[in-house]
């Protein structure tokens, strides 16, 4: 056992004594003990169950609100409609794998435009870096699905089994009918939430109302049931069973975050300079010569990760700020100022210790660089999106045979021209070639080559073309090769799209 752990236990014992002395502050039968993750060194260690206690306060209120907002976005988004025209899906956000399209409100992504998704991921990563360098793991603490769903699941658990001490009693107690019923109700509720989570997930991949009615009639595609099943189980096991272990052992982010913090990052911190020396306090006695921390361990009881924030910055801390609410409640009751635990920077901790004034330094190299790169990438993506062409052209030259000699000695090459029409209406294109004198365009069925190439709304279509160059013009082929351009113009319009390719003949 490490010294820290020994000290902790000693403190806990003291606190227990204080509790038995009649302190009103200790509602639990025994004071909360933090899980000392670091000193658990064996290769395999059974999980020590965490029983987070309900707190009240501004952060808890903010988290309820955020839970409402994030869950509403998650469950509600697939039901938003967006009119795109006849024959196209009217779901605002839809990942349409069978038809290979991603729809996001007014944006439509084809598979070959996947770089937009890459851009989004880069933006998400940079946003995460920026937020982390300013306010630590705010993402983890407030918005991460793991945190939000775990919070919801803990609330369900609390509803059926009571708060921290009641839950601990229940787990220790014998298997009475009441215990069985409570546990069963909890697990069933979790599974239902999990199922709804998975149910909402599949709606992002198919037309939501259609799929919902299919579910109602039990004739949804097998894949939909499979994924609802997978998400039911993962949500249940991550949110209900594994909880903080997902953050500690499965998620890579806690291991990376250390590179994003600096001494000016706002972190949920215990203000050691104000709190120490900690110890139980009897009402009416003086606060002189001691710290404000009364060692009630309410911050530990509230912590969903089961740690003690007073041990300083720890990898396990998800910065959920619930210990702030827990401590503020106590500070109000012992009539000391709030904020013994609060958002603080390492820099200010040091400055207070040296007796200097606090300072807040938001504009630092890393926040500036992250912001600039964030703006750059967003700008780049916006420009790319605005200038996204509605017509695109791919020209594939036949390689087998490389070229064909015709009876009059002219040379013919074959091409497959792929015309992409990203407009929501069918369009007719006219195709021409340029770049080689005398080059003549024809199709397998039409010697004039003057076809109207009609491409349906929002699709790609292949067209076969032949280009022949008369014998008299073959001198244009240096080393048997010359550049050729396919020019595709929408009928009645002047804007044209050019596809570069080559024309090949025999090397002289």
């Amino acid at each position: 056992m490490t010294n820290a752990a020994k000290r902790l236990e000693a403190l806990a014992a003291e606190a227990a004594n204080a509790a038995s002395a009649g302190s009103v502050l200790h509602e639990d039968a025994e004071p909360a003990k933090a899980i000392d993750w670091q000193s658990h060194s064996p290769l395999y260690e059974s999980r020590v169950k965490v029983y987070p206690k309900l707190v009240h306060g501004n952060y808890r209120r903010a988290k309820w609100l955020l839970m409402l907002v994030t869950l509403s976005i998650y469950y509600g988004t697939p039901w938003l409609r967006w009119n795109r025209g006849v024959g196209l899906p009217d779901q605002a956000v839809l990942l349409d794998f069978p038809n290979r399209r991603f729809y996001f409100f007014f944006i439509e992504i084809w598979p070959q435009e996947f770089y937009y998704i890459t851009g989004l991921l880069i933006l998400a990563a940079l946003g995460l870096f920026l937020v982390t360098s300013v306010a630590g793991r705010a993402w983890c603490g407030y918005a991460c699905p793991q945190t939000v769903w775990t919070d919801l699941f803990i609330h369900v658990e609390r509803f059926f089994e009571g708060d921290r001490s009641a839950r601990m009693r229940l787990d220790k107690g014998p298997w009475t009918l009441s215990k069985v019923l409570r546990k069963a109700a909890k697990h069933v509720s979790w599974l239902v939430i999990g199922m709804l989570t998975g149910g909402a997930w599949v709606f992002y991949f198919a037309d939501a109302p259609t799929l919902a009615s299919q579910f109602a009639h039990f004739d949804a595609p097998f894949m939909a049931y499979l994924f609802v099943g997978i998400f039911t189980l993962t949500t249940y096991s991550f949110g209900g069973i594994a909880r903080e272990q997902v953050c500690i052992y499965m998620c890579p982010w806690p291991r990376i975050q250390g590179a994003m913090f600096d001494e000016s990052t706002f972190l949920v911190s215990y203000k050691e300079d104000r709190g120490e020396l900690r110890g139980p306090h009897k009402k009416g006695t003086s606060w002189e010569g001691r710290g404000d921390c009364i060692d009630c361990a309410q911050c530990v009881a509230a912590c969903p990760m089961g740690i003690d924030i007073r041990n300083g910055m720890q990898m396990e801390c998800i910065q959920c700020a619930l210990c702030i609410d827990a401590c503020d409640e106590i500070m109000d009751r012992v009539e000391r100022p709030r904020g013994l635990i609060g958002y603080d920077t390492n820099d200010n901790q040091e400055r207070r210790r040296r007796g200097e004034a606090e300072r807040f330094n938001l504009i630092r190299p890393r926040t500036v660089v992250y912001s600039i790169v964030l703006l750059l990438v967003s700008g780049l993506m916006l420009v790319a999106l605005i200038n996204r062409p509605t017509t695109q052209l791919g020209v594939l030259r036949d390689r087998n045979p490389l070229y064909v000699v015709l009876s009059d000695g002219s040379i013919r090459n074959g091409y497959t021209v792929k015309i992409i029409n990203r407009d929501n209406v069918a369009r007719v294109f006219q195709v021409a070639v340029e770049g080689i004198d005398g080059a003549h365009l024809l199709t397998p069925t039409d010697a004039s080559g003057a076809v109207d190439a009609e491409v349906g709304a929002d699709t790609l279509k292949d067209f076969r073309f032949f280009v022949s160059v008369p014998r008299a013009n073959l001198s244009a082929l240096a080393n048997g090769e010359a550049a050729l351009r396919f020019v595709v113009t929408e009928k009645g319009k002047t804007d044209s799209t050019v596809g570069e390719t080559t024309f090949r003949g025999p090397t002289q």
């Binding site: 087998n400 045979p401 064909v404 000699v405 015709l406 013919r412 397998p444 076969r464 014998r471």
Partner: protein, 294 residues
């Protein structure tokens, strides 16, 4: 050495009761979920041996294997899948078989199927001689160009594919013969030389105008019956056009002399009866679409 299990002071775990040179082994069993998964795998394997083909054995001078009670084989599986694919195509293949070629060309949907099927059938049956891109090679015509020995219309191509060329077992096969002018002593070798020059001059490749002039008379006497007075050939007889830039065996003088001296007679199999009528139609449409179809 065997011993009674004791509790280890440091770890609080029982020992196995074995000791080697003072070293005792702790009894840390595998996790239960692992053990039961392992048992389940063993049970699964036992069932699998009975149900599926599993054990090889040597009997009566040959290797066999247990067949399994449900009779599963991967070969059957592939066969069933192929049957399913064929069943899926049956309707459209029936349409292709029933519809005249000229009408299929006008039907975009059927054409898409026919060209894809024709391409596959071409790769399976025709590519060994004509090349995977139908580009041909010496003695095997290039099917992409606009020069046809026996005609390039849909019905001409269909006849050629169905009955073949010089295919003895097919009564309706296309038949002709380029005589062996030198071998059979129809022409003397200087006459062969002259007529070769004349033939080359038809496409502007002659290098000896005097010889070509002499060859004209030889040509008029011996070749016009098939190749025509102007040398443009005759598709009814399968006689090639000698005035164009395309040469089946090569357009250099040595090759032309060789052709005249020893004759030519390439063979193409008759595919009627070997391939389904609908497949032959697909092949015809595919070849016709390659760029030379008339």
């Amino acid at each position: 050495m065997s011993d009674h299990p004791i509790k280890d002071d440091v770890s609080g775990v029982d020992t196995t009761g074995h000791e080697w040179d003072g070293i005792r082994e702790l009894n840390n069993p595998l996790p239960k979920w692992w053990i039961y998964t392992f048992y389940a795998c063993i049970a699964w394997a036992a069932v699998y041996w009975v149900v599926m083909p599993a054990w090889p054995y040597f009997w009566d001078g040959a290797w066999h294997h247990t067949k399994g009670v449900i009779g599963y084989t991967q070969r059957n599986e592939v066969g069933n899948e192929l049957k399913l694919v064929a069943a899926g195509r049956a309707e459209v293949m029936k349409q292709i078989a029933a519809m005249p070629l000229q009408d299929i060309v006008k039907n975009d949907n059927l054409m898409e199927v026919a060209l894809a099927g024709g391409k596959a059938a071409f790769g399976d049956n025709c590519a060994p001689c004509h090349g995977s891109g139908a580009q041909g090679s010496k003695g095997f015509p290039n099917l992409n160009d606009d020069d046809w020995l026996w005609g390039g219309t849909l019905s001409d191509i269909e006849t050629t594919v169905t009955h073949g060329i010089r295919w003895e077992t097919d009564a309706d096969t296309r038949e002709n013969m380029m005589p062996r002018f030198l071998d059979d002593s129809i022409l003397k070798s200087d006459e062969v030389n002259d007529v070769a020059e004349y033939v080359l001059s038809l496409s502007g490749h002659s290098t000896d105008a005097a010889a070509a002039g002499r060859g004209g008379a030889v040509f008029a006497k011996n070749c016009v019956a098939c190749h025509g007075a102007d040398g443009k050939g005759n598709q009814k007889l399968g006689a090639p056009n000698l005035t164009d830039q395309i040469w089946l065996y090569g357009g250099d003088k040595a090759t032309v002399v060789e052709t005249i001296s020893h004759g030519r007679g390439g063979v193409m199999p008759a595919w009627g009866g070997r391939l389904a009528p609908a497949t032959i139609k697909e092949l015809v449409l595919y070849v016709h679409s390659l760029g030379g179809g008339q």
